[in-house]
């Protein structure tokens, strides 16, 4: 079948997947269309109620990129600290890494090949 990709362990059929996606979307759309008819966009009924406090501006509430995954990075601080420290931006370090890897590769390849 056109579009089917065979690996040695399975098959990937993107067109079949796409068909399932379209059918799923149609079902979801149908369920949505049967939803609450009294909903009116941009009216008082959609404003959030924050225990009587005034709503903060939406721009101020937006989570900026550097705050995302803060918890992930905090939990992996022990991993990130040396990793970021190692990325010095210094060209000498780049060459140092090359030399180290070259030495390791040579030792391994020579020990097997000769």
């Amino acid at each position: 079948m056109i579009g089917s990709l065979l690996s040695n362990a399975g098959v990937w059929m993107p067109l079949a997947w796409l068909f399932v996606l379209v059918v799923t979307w149609a079902i979801v759309y149908y369920i949505r269309s049967r939803g609450e008819a009294r909903y009116h966009k941009d009216t008082e009924q959609v404003r959030p109620f924050l225990a009587g406090h005034p709503e903060t501006s939406k721009a101020a509430m937006h989570v900026r990129a550097s705050n995302e995954y803060w918890g992930f990075m905090e939990a992996l601080k022990g991993y990130y600290h040396p990793l970021i420290k190692g990325h010095t931006g210094n060209l000498n370090d780049y060459i140092c890494w090359f030399t180290c890897i070259l030495a390791i590769v040579l030792v391994l390849v020579i020990s097997v090949g000769v």
Binding site: K58, L102, V112
Partner: protein
Amino acid sequence: MSAIESLRLHSPALIIAIPLLTAFIIPLLSKIIGPKARNGFVVAVLTGVLALVLLLAHDVITGGTRTYVLGGSTPLLTLPSGYQVPVRIMFVIDAMGVFMGIMCGVIALVAAIYSCMETYEGLYKFYTLLLLVTTGIFGLVFTGDLFNLFVFFEILSIASCGLVAFKIDSPMSMEGGFKYMVISDIGGLSLLVMIGLLYGQYDALNIGMLANRMDYGMIDIIALGLIVTALLMKSGSVPMHMWTPDAYGETPSSVTIMIVGASLSSLYALFRICFTLYGGFIGINVAGWIIVILALISILVGVTMAIPQTDFKRLIGYAAVAEIGFILLGLGAGLASLSGNSVDAYGIKAMEGSIFHIFNDALDIGLLFFVAAVVSYATGQRNLNNLCGLGRKMKYTTFLFIIGLAAVAGLPPMNGFASKFLIYESVFHLNPILAIIGILGSIMMLAIFVKAFSGAFLGPPVPELETYKKVPRSMLFAMSIVVAIIVFFGLFPDLIVDNLAHPAAQALVNHSEYISHAIRIGGV
């Protein structure tokens, strides 16, 4: 001989000569016909070159490996009577070569279309460098001679360096260019030392002849270690990857896709040297495992380093490091299962996935760099912390970013999923841990671009981004072409794998066929 037959015969030389000559004509032409006509001319030339590449690809896929010799009485005469060694400049184009050629032709054309909006001073130099990079990649993937490989590698590196440092008024750009130059020079010098060692041993520079004569002694093994390490660094493998965000981040965005292509052509050289030149070496499996380990580290370090980035282009630069890891994973798995002239079924599938992923990487990462450039062009910002709510105003760009995000993270039904599917299912049989780490890398890749999407495109409109520049149509058109190819590759992956990636993998594994074409005794 008809014109088409003549074009077919001379296509290997024309594909390299046309962009090379155009590169030097462009400065003159710019002064005569003006910038708009010049831009159109470059796009027309690259369209013609792509057509020639497709013609050659058809020839190679249907008729087998092609050779083309410069300076002989006929371009098919590889070894004139009485000669023991092929001495002329020779192109040996197999399925792997044309696969890379098609990739180069596509990304060069897209980059040229996208570049039509660039407003840099001295844009004719920009096009000259772009065409020289294109020439370098074509030459590198077509040549059958190690010294010419070095020459094209240098053309590619010098022109790429010029592009990275093109914004000469930016200190960061100059720094990125300097780092790129040093890294490329180390790669080039390592290649030259390797060539010297092999030439001293075997009196030959032709890849096929060298492979035929090689006895895998100590000098050959040292040459292998040297060049594998240098090419891994040039392609951006961890821990020698640190130059990639520096260089990718500062290159003019319209041609970052070409710098990515230059890194991928280094991977091609790695494929060619490991399989064709050292395919019979007993220790090549160890080299395969070394590459697998570096691939896994590249995936993990690439994705985890991308997470804290706030600069849009540096974030994509680290993601590109992880993508190189996925390609190396398939390559390493293929090498680890190589035995003489054959690889087991899973090794072949891993290589097919890896080769397919080369093209996908160029398209997906290239598209994301294009989007980052559009955002930077429209808002003047590339710091994700300063961006917000762009999805409300830049709807089409947002849509394109979602496609790029899905493709690079390997979400079905995009192209990235198809190639990663082949890699994961194959390396699982080598060791399940490899597939697990790969899938973890894909999930984290999605997390990275969800962060970028959420930071830049979601949220309310903010006052400081109320005014933004209208995005030129050439930018949107170039990105649309890339998206169309991504979707096509995603929906019909079998067409690419069966007709291009599988023959390419077979051509690499069956290196004796390459050798026999290169040193065909007596000529035609």
